[in-house]
Symmetry: C2
């Protein structure tokens, strides 16, 4: 449950639980709106995912890009499934989880805090930027509301 | 057709063409066996992919991990869809393409050349390492043979 993009303390704050995946707000908000989408069963490689897990993941991709577009209007999204940090310890036990990292070509202000994307146009760097609890709780709530509204329209 | 991991000159050498995706051997082999899987139609975000494109992509993930395991025995695979380099120019025109980057916890020798993974356990860095034409042609052939044998077993 540790990851270079997610930071110490697991994948972050739980936003929603789907049938096969959990969606978290990542502890590091260096790139505002960064989320983690983790498969709920133990699974160490993408090749082990089955059809229904892929199908639900692809729906989550659509929903999350749409919702984050609505809240923060990022310029683009970076998606990755790396699992590198799991190999820094003996007896690695990697877990499939995706990083959803919104990227911005401009400074963005949210709840009075200014966020920059210091690496726009380049790979996201795994440096941790924490934000106040009330701000991250606010982001979780906004994304959750978006996901709930999509359930209604299913 | 330029990408930070793929290097100048497009996605690399074509290995195979599926119904919805093309598979290339990336120009940079800093991480031996690095490939690019690009969707065949114009598509600027993962949320625009449809069901059949996701389904074929998930089959390609399984096949490619299995084939590369057989050839190079990497320790793990990094997958990412970033599209960052497209935003370094005016009027960005991003194209959905995946990076498949095998990672190694050891030095590996292939056709007399020694490869190291200088960032094992950490994010892959986009520095270009070219290899001789005959070596890359040999890798293309090995992967192609693997993909063809799976078609027979479909």
């Amino acid at each position: 449950m540790t990851c270079e993009y997610c930071g110490i303390g697991g994948y972050g704050k739980l936003i929603a639980e789907k049938t096969y995946w959990k969606i978290f707000l990542a502890p590091s908000q260096r790139y505002l709106g960064t989320c983690v989408i983790a498969v709920k069963r133990h699974c160490s490689a993408l090749s082990e995912l089955d059809k229904v897990e892929w199908a639900e993941f692809s729906r989550i991709v659509r929903e999350m890009e749409l919702i984050l577009d609505g809240i923060f209007k990022p310029t683009l999204f970076n998606w990755s499934c790396f699992k590198n940090a799991a190999y820094r310890v003996e007896n690695p036990d990697p877990e499939v989880h995706w990083h959803l990292i919104p990227r911005y070509d401009r400074e963005i202000e949210f709840e009075g805090i200014k966020f920059k994307d210091p690496n726009f146009g380049y790979i996201p760097q795994p440096f941790k930027l924490g934000i106040p609890e009330d701000i991250s709780d606010g982001i979780v709530k906004k994304i959750k509301t978006g996901l709930d509204s999509m359930k209604i329209n299913d």
